[in-house]
Amino acid sequence: MNAAEKTMKRNNIIFNILSIIILAVMFFPLYWTFVTSLKYEQEIFRVPPTFFPSRINTASYLAQLKSGDFNMFRAFGNSAIISICSMLIAVLLSVPASYAIARFRFKGKKFCVLIFLITQMLPVSVLLTPMFIIFRNMSLLNSYFSPILADATIGIPFSVLILKDYFASVPKELDDASRIDGCNYFSSFLRVFTPIAFPGVIVCAVFSFLYAWGDLAYGMTFIQLQPMRPITAGIFNFMGQYGTKWSYLTAFAVVTIIPVTLIFIFMQKYIISGLTKGAVKG
């Protein structure tokens, strides 16, 4: 082994150790939340704290199955309904829109892009008060519709901006070929473009879902009825009432993170590409 190879090997070990340390620091809050959710209440207050539960306590999870003070599983279902519906709206509207922006030259195209860019940067709190009054007048408060419709406004601009690059990368020849084969614009959009841009569609679906899943402001403002509230708003309520019942609170946190973790594990590739292409944070 020569000197250069030796330094390379040494560097490899040093960087691997360094990266594990970084990872451990970044993941500590998640680990800490998880172990706390499995501890008994007395053990949480023990000094010095234990880094692994001495006795595993699953009561914090099980209590919620029997519809406790806050029915976590019901709230989980509410969140799922709201997130999936708002994801569907975002995908169904943004896929054709981005196809048009990438493929056709029409008047006002640049203006369209501008609108999506600006709306993408809008804070939720700017829209909250007027939306509340509008939904109130439409009698949509305390229904799933209000958060679904509001959450989709976050997903749509992001999705359009991401997808237009995917559609633009489809070679023009494919378009022409499909037209010669007798496809009109609609069938070539559905049969040729959408399948090729499919990874992009998944990125949009994932992000639209995550935006809605993580939303607190819309859910808690538009829905005042506890049994209909999404999980984030439910947890926030519970924190206000039982601020120090950490075994329950950490268990809620773990349950809320589960879908995020699953999406992360299976869709990591898409998420990172979406992030780097869209450069967007919700």
């Binding site: 691997n16 594990i20 000094v47 939720v124 709190s125 007027p130 926030f236 946190a253 993170i257 992360f264």
Partner: protein, 300 residues
Amino acid sequence: MNYIKKLLKNDNIGYVFVLPALIYMAVFVGYPILSNIVLSLQDVTVRTINSPAKPFIGLNNYVELFQDGVLRTSIVNTFTFTVLCIIFQFTIGFALALVFNNKFSFAKPVRGLIMMPWMIPITITALMYKFMFSSNVGIINFILKSLHIIQQPVDWLTQPGTAMAALIITNVWIGIPFNMILISTGLTTIPDDIYESASIDGANRIQKFFRITVPMLKSTIASVLILGFIYTFKVFDLVYVMTNGGPVNSTQTLSTYSYKMSFDLFKYSQGATIANILFVILFIVSLLYLKIFFAEEGTK
């Protein structure tokens, strides 16, 4: 029929595809923004919300709010929070991007895993950190005590200075992955041979960093900073869950103050006014970003 066929044959068919999304955004974003402006010029509270005629009071809400100290405090707090968050998350994110830019076996998987904190709902992040910062059971006080940095447990979230510090630390944890991944992507666009020829010319690591890496990443750095500013400035969930603006408005930001006005005090017009101030500040910053965005689009 012929007319429709002709219309659908040329590029105008693009409108058919783009209109549904545009109409949706006009109804659920455009209209609220306009009604927000109207709302801020009226006096709508819980008492007048149902009456058909809403009193028009011109710029009174703006004048009143600017005379009230809490708005000024909120503006200062929001800027302090944003600037400090960006300094830390950008520096740490940049450092991590440089680490993961080296070739080693764990580089890719670990860099991917670090993205995880960024995806967690902010309500949950706020809950986790509220637990870690709590004065009696918090792990942070325990660690600081074991290291003899503090003698007595600190009441992080109930004292003005430390509450802001706790919020910033939490937000930096969320922001690091975002900064890291964008800078990482930027780093991969710098060709290796530039570094090699610099080495031949005798440049050291620090010289290479400031003479090659930073100038080559100029547009990436600019967009990371501006986007970071926009996303940090509109912070809501984190503050709302961790401190709700307290103690005594020391962590009140524009978003939380607007929310408080509308939904705790039911002064909808005042809430809308604060939201408009937030909107104007962000809009100015967004224009900067748009300038960069379209400059990049043009070079493609």
